[in-house]
């Protein structure tokens, strides 16, 4: 039997090796950003038996991508010779767009999705709030308007740019 990676390395090295293997797994719905960029990948824990636990958290409760992300992590780890791992889905603390990396935000913009603004008060039920000022990812104009608070996935809102006339998705802050 080929020796597994778990046996050859210290816990710290193993942790880093696992992280490096899974961090580049793309988000299934927005494949230009990774699960690390999005803040879905939370932690890798190595216990004293050198068993691996990968902690992930969903963006939204109903995010249909979570099962696939878990499956992709499993495949990636197996292909790279890791054994004795499990994937744990945690809800707390609740995911927030604050966890998105700067690189992730730049990749989103280059892809044509406006990245999330700095977190605002989302747990507010006041109606007809002023729409968030979101710059167009194509022409950078702030002359944009909200079309719908809900878009093609739970994490996005629909906007329209009055300057270049293009519609675009906004990764809404959450």
């Amino acid at each position: 039997m080929q020796e597994t990676k778990n046996n050859n390395t210290s816990a710290e090295e193993l942790k880093k090796a696992v992280w490096d293997v899974v961090k580049n797994i793309p988000d299934p719905e927005i494949p230009v950003i990774t699960i690390e960029d999005l803040g879905i990948l939370r932690e890798v824990i190595i216990n004293d038996k050198n068993e691996i636990e990968v902690i992930i958290t969903p963006t939204y409760s109903g995010c249909p991508a979570m099962d696939l992300i878990g499956w992709n992590i499993k495949t990636e780890l197996e292909q790279n010779g890791f054994k004795n791992f499990r994937i744990t889905n945690v809800l707390s603390p609740a995911w927030t767009t604050d966890w998105m990396t700067e690189t992730g935000k730049q990749k989103l913009k280059a892809y044509g999705i406006a990245p999330p603004n700095k977190k605002q008060i989302v747990c507010d039920t006041e109606l007809f709030q002023q729409d968030e000022a979101v710059p167009c990812p194509h022409c950078d104009s702030y002359n944009t308007k909200l079309v719908s608070r809900f878009g093609s996935t739970p994490c996005k809102a629909l906007y329209h740019c009055n300057n270049c006339n293009e519609p675009f998705d906004y990764f809404k802050c959450h």
Binding site: L91, L127, R149
Partner: protein
Amino acid sequence: MASTTTVSKEDKINYLLYIADTALILSHRNSEWCGHAPVLEQDIALTNIALDLLGQARNFYQYAAELIGNNATEDSLAYLRLEHEYKNLLLAEQPNEDWAYTVLRQFYISTFLFYLYQQLQQNEDEQVAAIAAKSIKEVAYHVRWSGEWVIRLGDGTKESNQRMQQALDFLKDYTGEVFIAANYEQAMQIDMATIQKKWEEKVAAVLNEAMLSFSTNNFSHTGGKTGKHTEHLGYILTEMQYLQRTYPNATW
């Protein structure tokens, strides 16, 4: 050991099922609009809300299944229980009728869930608290979306105001059930009086702004929380559970 846990396992399971069932059935009702909503953006909005509710229901079912044990799963709870085992609010199962009924039903339930989750996110049960903290951010969006529609239609044209008023007159007999606690609900030690007060204030403010006439209502249909449903739930379950009933144990 953590603090004073006085909630029995049975009460907690029933309570989890009550919230999960309410979210699932409302989600199903909303999903019936898929492809039929007045405009594309609103079709997408409502299906997104349905997806959020489905996710919240799944989280509660998964936790309930863990407590139940015995090979129970989120799927067995959703697909294999009978009508009288469902504990959802009667309000959630009422038919879509028109857009007015749909947005008002959503507004009533989302507003309730918002104030409920405000409390549950401090619950001594960490898993309940985590699900509530996760859900409340989504529910805040639902309250705003549905509340804005109630105002837009109520304070819109003569026709839209009439339709909104019709929905209000019909659904009012189902709102009282929300605040009449079932036994398992009392055991959860939730401050329902505060939730009710906040709910009534928010609803009154929105209905006023929507130019709709309403009065406090002492009558309410009840029974959903203990499995006595209107005739509508049976039809919903027949459709929703069709595949599992026809092909038992089918998986993806």
